[in-house]
């Protein structure tokens, strides 16, 4: 298993490197003079030249890129053009908030989506199953930001139960987690349901039934693990989308997280901060995918035994 983890970690490095290159290139070709952003009203030709030299902006593209990556490896994301503080500090300050929201949403999706999906998959003709289908269908089409606004209107404005913004305490996490997670919850629910339906009509389920296994154990012992595989894949694919959606959630609920920082930095033309946010999010996606793959490997004996030194 450790061999597998190391292998996957090593595979991650070139991907993150390549991604940094892509994002860096996009930002490099941004029209406009960054020194104008840095200097603002104090802009003079001389000052501009001086800063360009200081930051190495006068160097060729590849020199700049190599320098950026070199700094990145040491954990240095550069200086913000606006606050003149290290980008890494901003990220450290903001990232935990993003993490909380994403983790909350993840919990919401999985804790609700999987059991409902399993249940309605085993009883495909029940009322609950049909209701699940409808909710699932509507849920995947709900825009995060609109759902967020509706939740605020209902639970904060009308009922006054939950705060509409900020990130103080557990209660402030509930609405953002639901808003961010609803789409993916619906998606996970639908996937689990249909893979459960698919698994339940497999030959090996019939074999188990012919052995006299009870309905409950058919689901628990025979169907669930097989049905979980597509669900885990969907969860893995959704982590990226979840991190994309966090930009919207943080905007709706005024949460000072990485997503908000990204939008602010884009508006301020603060290239190092934009780069920093994108790189951090890409790393998050890569790490989450790794975790999902590890869970997958744990469930699928074929991958597991490949790396545990067993036979086959």
């Amino acid at each position: 298993m450790i061999k597998y983890v190391v292998k996957r970690l090593l595979e991650m490095i070139p991907i993150i490197f390549a991604l940094t290159f892509v994002v860096f290139t996009i930002m490099y070709f941004t029209p406009g003079d960054p020194t104008a952003v840095i200097l603002g009203n104090e802009y003079t030709e001389e000052a501009s030249m001086r800063i360009k030299q200081e930051l190495g902006l006068d160097k060729p593209f590849f020199v700049q890129f190599v320098r950026y990556v070199g700094n990145l490896i040491r954990g240095d994301f550069g200086m913000s053009y606006i606050t003149r503080a290290p980008v890494s500090e901003q990220l450290i300050g903001r990232f935990p908030n993003t993490f909380k929201v994403v983790a909350g949403a993840m919990l919401f999706c999985v804790a609700l989506g999987v059991p409902i999906g399993v249940f309605s998959g085993t009883k495909p003709y029940s009322l609950l199953s049909n209701i699940t289908m409808v909710i699932g269908l509507l849920g995947v089409s709900l825009p995060i930001f609109w759902l967020g606004l509706l939740l605020i209107l209902l639970f904060s404005v009308k009922l006054g139960w939950l705060p509409s913004s900020g990130i103080e305490g557990f209660s402030s996490l509930i609405l953002p987690s639901i808003a961010l997670g609803a789409n993916y919850m619906a998606n996970i629910m639908r996937t689990t349901r249909s893979s459960m339906l698919e698994v339940i009509r497999q030959d090996y389920i019939r074999t188990a039934k012919a052995k006299g296994v009870s309905q409950r154990n058919i689901v628990r012992k025979h169907a669930l693990r097989n049905a979980m595989m597509p669900t885990i894949t969907v969860i893995g694919m959704n982590i990226g989308a979840l991190l994309g959606g966090v930009v919207l959630t943080e905007t709706v609920f005024s949460i000072p997280g990485t997503g908000r920082l990204l939008v602010e930095s884009i508006n301020n033309r603060d290239t190092p901060s934009v780069l920093g946010c994108l790189v951090i999010m890409a790393v998050c996606v890569a790490v989450s995918n790794l975790i999902v793959d590890l869970i997958y490997a744990y469930i699928d004996p074929q991958i597991k035994s490949q790396y545990s030194g067993g036979r086959g």
Partner: protein, 303 residues
């Protein structure tokens, strides 16, 4: 052969005969599609939305109703004159939604066409030639897949500015890797089927094979993906506009209507209802349509 399989096999065998004896394949797909009520509802709603977008100037006047400030009527709740009410500077929300549909559909469709074109070329080449070519193309596409497409679109918009054209390109490019995957796998499934082999054997050139046989035969899954990604693109446009990096006011766009209405929603909840619902119903209709098409094109997937 198990009995259930036999039943399934019979029904496809029957369809097989129907297909070639009585009806063309298209008619058969259409018949399957019509059986799916949800998909038909989706199609009807989407057609209504498209017609609304096309006839927007006939339905309401762009300058007078959708753009011009009208302070005396600001924040009027829905009534017979303004069925969705008016916004914070007195513009008719209904008119803005109708005109907003044009932008959403225009950007949605054109960005997917961009993605399909670029991604399609890469995917078809990768899928058809396989081996090293496939490896190089797909590994580079994988890099992009690591970044959520909203973020990729954001980065592109951040770099090149927020014009309508830039946004279309940004969304198109951010979907490109996904389309290359779809086209690649579609091409790979038909690549080894006998008739392609046969075409090769009689000496048809590679490009002709790709175009004539492969692309024609993988058009089905591509249409499904196009439908679903138009929905995705429309969502992305409104999302970008909502966070202020897309279409800017006063141009009516559903996402920026939500963004500007947000500040007033505490006392005027209706202001965020209609624009949000417009996004929701458009995406829903496309999702229903896409799911229905997928089931109709591949009856085996139906549960």
């Amino acid at each position: 052969m198990t009995e259930t399989n036999a039943v399934r096999k019979y029904s496809t065998k029957k369809e097989f005969f129907k297909e070639y004896k009585k009806k063309s394949r298209l008619q058969e797909i259409w018949r399957m599609f019509l059986k799916n009520k949800l998909a038909v509802i989706g199609l009807v709603i989407f057609v209504i939305i498209v017609l609304t977008a096309i006839m927007a100037p006939l339905i309401s006047d762009y300058e007078n109703d959708a753009i011009k400030m009208n302070v005396s009527e600001r924040l009027t709740p829905p009534n017979s004159q303004h069925i969705f009410g008016t916004d914070e500077i007195g513009r008719d929300i209904f008119a803005r939604i109708v005109h907003g549909a044009r932008i959403s559909l225009l950007v949605g469709l054109s960005s997917v066409i961009i993605a399909l074109f670029i991604g399609g070329i890469f995917g078809a080449v990768a899928g058809f030639f396989g081996g090293k070519v496939d490896g190089i193309i797909m590994r580079s596409m994988d890099v992009f897949l690591c970044l959520p497409d909203v973020l990729l679109a954001l980065a592109i918009v951040a770099a090149f500015g927020t014009s309508l054209v830039n946004m279309t390109i940004a969304i198109g490019l951010s979907f490109t890797p996904k389309f290359s995957r779809v086209v690649r796998s579609a091409v790979m499934t038909v690549r080894d089927i006998e008739y392609v082999e046969a075409a090769r054997a009689i000496g048809a050139t590679n490009s002709r094979i790709i175009l004539q046989h492969v692309l024609i035969n993988c058009i089905g899954p591509i249409i499904v993906q196009v439908t679903l990604y138009v929905a995705n693109a429309i969502l992305t446009i409104s999302a970008l506009s909502f966070i202020g990096l897309g279409i800017k006011a006063p141009t009516p766009e559903w996402g920026n209507m939500l963004a500007s209405g947000r500040a007033f929603m505490r006392d005027n909840a209706y202001i965020v209802m209609a624009p949000g619902f417009a996004i929701f119903i458009t995406i829903l209709s496309l999702n229903l349509l896409g799911d229905g098409l997928r089931d109709a094109l591949d009856p085996r997937l139906k549960q």
